[in-house]
Symmetry: C2
DNA sequence: TCAAAAGTGTTAGATTTACACCCATGA
DNA sequence: TCATGGGTGTAAATCTAACACTTTTGA
């Protein structure tokens, strides 16, 4: 009997908290569970970790299975392991959050998996401990958002300053002062103004900006 | 065949990063591994998660097994799950960090487990991904330390302001200005000055302070 | 008597916040 | 022409950082 074999094994899964920003709101992808136990309940999308697969790989695989997208920004939230968290069997789940630009997500792919965007404020009761996972993911994501330029992952590559501000407001749940916000943006040279104008949001039109990752890497002073 | 049984199970363990503060340095408890694989290598102390045990319970159990102490401050660091992280079998490990007052730790208990305090700066190469676990634990602990009054868990219940300052300096790896530090402490009414004097650290003696949790709960504005 | 740690305030500079009006355009 | 969102600067208040000397006492 080896050192290992005197202990018992458990199933390990990953659950994905996919954040998107749309209509000025922070949203998360959830769907009705298609299998027992818990069939029909609102739930995060997840999957099991295979024997020959790193947990991060399992999360990437699950993410791209659901979205068709690769190289998404993704971070671990943590492990959730109450004995009875899953009503069927003992399953330890590792939660990950990811950020996507809603426009990159093919509606057909979304429908095939029958998941939908739901406002993070006002989520229904979800399967198992998924509400708790989302709470923790949101907390971690908020922290990151203050100190790292990850917000751009939730926006098109060209965006207006108002869009960016609305994004920060939605995530932090508080309004920001327009002039102060724009002052801070001006100090960050890696948020580049283009000559392009977006006229979808207003009659006058607003300049489009882009995030220049290379410039950021050279002078990564970000704080919002 | 159930939904679950088509997937494979894995071993899940917990690893404990136990921080202590002694001789003005932040230390961590490590020992020589007593079992194969990796016998003799420096390693964190860990244990397997049992089938009928929450992961947090597994961590508490492992912690009190090692230290003889209960109700320690403990937080999850995250799950570590590379396929080949453990040289023997596939094991996913969930790391936790804990804070203890070195003086509460019975030397005999420590020796029985043959672990020792080692400065977090200048750790040797550890078994598996344990160095990485400690790095992440330290990062998380630093963050918490700024916004929550957890530093007291690393000190005796009565402490001098110099001890407290040295603790913050050791964790953050930078010196602090004595007057500015003390000014901030004065603003926090839940750090109470006693009439007791500690003369072990100086000839003149320094006032001993204590953390009043109840007062903190009533007015929890902490920032250092 | 002197070395070593304890204790104590002030000021300049930096950062943060609050705040209001004109502009351009399409309907 | 007017309603809508885009764009811009200044001043007060707050917070942060820098800085030096006196006290006490045991060796």
């Amino acid at each position: 009997m080896t050192y290992y074999s005197q202990h018992s094994k458990v199933w390990v899964s990953v659950d994905c908290i996919i954040f998107g920003f749309d209509e000025g709101k922070l949203k998360v992808l959830i769907g009705r569970r298609q299998m027992d136990p818990g069939r029909g309940e609102w739930s995060l999308y997840g999957g099991f970790v295979a024997a020959d697969e790193n947990i991060d790989e399992a999360a990437s695989r699950t993410l791209s299975e659901l979205t068709g997208l690769r190289n998404l920004y993704m971070r671990q939230v943590g492990a959730f392991g109450s004995v009875d968290r899953d009503p069927g069997e003992r399953v330890i789940s590792i939660a990950y959050y990811a950020l996507i630009n809603v426009k990159d997500y093919d509606e057909r792919v979304r429908m095939e998996h029958s998941v939908e965007w739901m406002d993070v404020n006002g989520l229904p009761k979800l399967y198992s401990d998924h509400n708790e996972m989302i709470r923790k993911a949101l907390k971690l994501m908020r922290q990151k958002l203050r100190t790292e330029p990850i917000g751009f992952r939730l926006l098109p590559s060209l965006f207006t300053l108002t869009q960016l501000q609305r994004l920060y407001e939605a995530v932090n749940g508080e309004e920001l002062d327009k002039r102060n916000f724009r002052k801070r943006i001006k100090d960050m040279d890696f948020i580049e103004k283009t000559e392009l104008i977006d006229k979808t949001g207003s009659k006058r039109g607003a300049y489009l900006f882009r995030f220049n990752r290379k410039a950021y890497n050279e002078d990564p002073n970000f704080k919002l």
